[in-house]
């Protein structure tokens, strides 16, 4: 035993021998976790998602202390939070806009994965866990939006839960189970509140698995080639410092919305208390559901619409095999790169369509957009993988960097 160690270090070593939690963290996101040195700023969005998730859980727990999940009191209790709870307005605006920013961050994170081929071997399970996280996020966000019990809460809940009635034979039973009765009512609000509180912690569990699955192969990188040990740098302090800067930039955008445009991403109708006898003229979900809402309404048949909508997410599970190209990064795939941007635009067009009434030009665009969404994954991805000639790949991550001055 070293005698030079101070009593603090000795106590630390004593604890570490019994529960090596500090070295566990160091191996997970510290100096013992090597990451490729060429990660660009798109790789910030994973840690950003973790950050905003923690903000949501913390503000959510505090909000739950003043919220009442009852149809007669929910709307009023939210207004009391806004008016009488100390900094309640800040908690609520941070929470509501935090959900929107969580989706912005996660969508960028997903599109980064699509561009750089992060779903390909050996990261398929990592990708799957990511899709499960997105599904959990969607369910949690949907149920959270119901809690203020405004008009859009109530009618959004009615429309979305009714989707399940399209399932043959057991559909109606499922809807009754979701409602806890025969319409969206107090039992619905109660179970949604219970689940909205539970699911974030399930989400945290899956995030832990996601990070675990990340550590087996390590991070992908913008070149999409394997990173050799000499191309890697310790996560701490390199990526911790880079992520801290990313968090700062993110917060500038987030706080600008929270403090100056807190209702810009919400719907005005949700400041009208829920009224089962009065249907709003135009029921729309929150912006992050709009592309999927458009796909749902692309077809007149309800069941087909529901299948297409869930299919549009579930299809992501099989893209590691639909993409037949061995080259990961779109940087070296001239055709795929163009298709990626078309696909991104397609998703945005679908998002706009979701906000419009399904008639006329928006309906035509919805149908073209939905077709293209599936055509991209089911036809273009496998075919392009076969016919495309990728650009030559660099032999290592350091090669292009070292070669640059010679050019």
């Amino acid at each position: 035993m070293s005698t030079e160690k101070g009593w603090g270090m000795q106590a630390f070593d004593w604890f570490e021998e019994r529960l090596p939690i500090v070295s566990f963290i160091d191996h997970s996101i510290g100096s013992k976790y090597p990451a490729p040195k060429n990660l660009n700023y798109y790789w910030n969005f994973g840690s950003l998602a973790l950050f905003i998730m923690v903000v949501l859980i913390m503000t959510g727990i505090l909000l739950a202390m003043s919220y009442t999940p009852h149809v007669d009191h929910a709307f009023q209790s939210v207004e009391r939070i806004m008016r009488d709870v100390n900094s309640g307005w800040l908690l609520r605006y941070m929470h509501a806009n935090g959900a929107s920013f969580f989706f912005i961050v996660v969508y960028i994170h997903i599109f980064r994965g699509l561009y750089y081929g992060s779903y390909k071997a050996p990261r398929e399970v990592l990708w799957w866990l990511g899709i499960i996280i997105m599904l959990l996020m969607m369910a949690t966000a949907f149920m959270g939006y119901v809690l203020p019990w405004g008009q859009m809460s109530f009618w959004g809940a009615t429309v979305i839960t009714n989707l399940f009635s399209a399932i043959p034979i057991i559909g109606d039973e499922i809807v009754t189970l979701l409602w806890g009765g025969f319409s969206v009512d107090n039992p619905t609000l109660n179970r949604f509140f219970a689940l909205h509180y539970l699911m974030p912690f399930v989400l945290v569990g899956v995030v832990v698995l996601h990070i675990w699955a990340l550590h087996i192969p390590g991070s992908n990188n913008p070149l999409g080639i394997e990173a050799t040990p000499k191309d890697k740098i310790p996560f701490h302090p390199y990526y911790t410092s880079k992520d801290a800067f990313g968090v700062g930039v993110f917060l500038l955008a987030y706080f600008t919305v929270v403090f100056w445009f807190p209702n810009a991403m919400g719907h005005t109708d949700n400041y009208i208390p829920a009224n089962p006898l009065s249907t709003p003229a135009h029921i729309v979900p929150e912006w992050y559901f709009l592309p999927f809402y458009a796909i749902l309404r692309s077809i007149d048949d309800k069941l087909t619409g529901v299948i297409l909508m869930f299919g549009s997410i579930l299809i992501l599970f099989v893209i590691p095999w639909l993409d037949t190209s061995r080259v990961r990064s779109a940087t070296f795939r001239p055709i795929f790169k163009v298709l990626f941007w078309i696909f991104l635009i397609d998703c945005m067009v679908l998002g706009w369509c979701g906000s419009q009434l399904p008639e006329g030009i928006p309906l035509i665009l919805t149908r073209v957009g939905t077709f293209w969404y599936f055509f991209h994954f089911l036809v273009l991805m496998p075919v392009i993988g076969w016919i495309e000639t990728p650009k030559p790949l660099p032999t290592s991550i350091s090669t292009p960097v070292v070669a640059k001055p010679a050019e």
């Binding site: 008016r83 968090v247 700062g248 706080f255």
Partner: protein, 256 residues
């Protein structure tokens, strides 16, 4: 370049929210300059008090303000004693005295503004079947907020010739209201009330004052929100700059 693309994507995503709903009605609102606009915006206490006077003397005969208590009026510049006096002008039914009987008592600052009607049926019966909505959150529950409010209050006209046949009994033509038929008649006319601060009570002045007051009622924390925001953003900005230089220094030895 990448940052620009990212920013463009983010702005497009953010752009969805307003696009969602503004397409519905092509009503042109009469945009006003509000003291509470902009990053440093603040309420004009004098204006809020005038707006409260308009609400109390005109609107409150039909519209409730359920989320505002008399004590809240301190935030628009009334003293503790003034709120006591304002409250005591209202009488509330209280349940119950020691014999179990309902009795009347004057309101106190802790009480919420009494609703003009005891229940919805009574309100509808008194208003030709229409229910005058509560105004506590009105500017947040309509697109355009206080601009919508203002435009609606002054938006009364004779119906255009092609609408005349469509007008239902007891409905009034309004340029801003959805469907252009509103059950509320024009309420504000020049000199209808006398402002206690001597401001000439033109229709536009009263409409503007009451809209500002209702925006305060809907978003009473607007001032503290914007003021906190300035400090938070300043702190975050300094943090971000420091984090950037820290990152640069740490990465100085990495060729990438």
């Amino acid at each position: 370049m990448r940052i620009v693309l990212f920013a463009a994507a983010a702005i497009t995503l953010l752009g969805f929210a307003p696009a969602t709903t503004q397409a519905a009605g092509e009503v042109v609102l009469d945009h006003q300059e509000w003291s509470f606009d902009g990053p440093f915006g603040r309420f004009d206490r004098q204006q809020l008090q005038r707006g409260f006077q308009v609400y109390r003397e005109i609107c409150s005969s039909c519209h409730g303000l359920d989320y505002i208590a008399f004590r809240n009026l301190k935030a628009i510049g009334y003293s503790e004693d003034q709120t006591k006096v304002l409250a005591s002008e209202y009488t509330l039914e209280e349940c119950c005295d020691d014999q179990g009987d309902i009795f009347d008592r004057p309101a106190i600052p802790a009480d919420y503004m009494p609703n003009p009607y005891p229940n919805e049926q009574f309100a509808r019966a008194s208003n030709n079947g229409a229910l005058p909505p509560d105004l506590s959150l009105m500017t947040k529950a309509r697109h355009g907020g206080p601009d919508y409010m203002y435009s609606l209050i002054i938006g009364y006209q004779d119906p255009p010739a092609e609408m005349e046949a469509e007008m239902m009994d007891g409905m009034y033509y309004n340029t801003v209201f959805e469907g252009n038929q509103i059950a509320m008649a024009q309420q504000l006319f020049d000199e209808l009330i006398e402002y206690s601060d001597g401001t000439p009570a033109t229709t536009e002045q009263m409409a503007k004052d009451v809209s500002a007051f209702l925006h305060w009622a809907a978003e009473p924390k607007l001032e503290v929100r914007k003021q906190t925001g300035i400090r938070v953003l300043l702190f975050t900005f300094i943090f971000t700059v420091l984090a950037y230089f820290l990152k640069r220094r740490i990465w100085a030895d990495v060729k990438h």
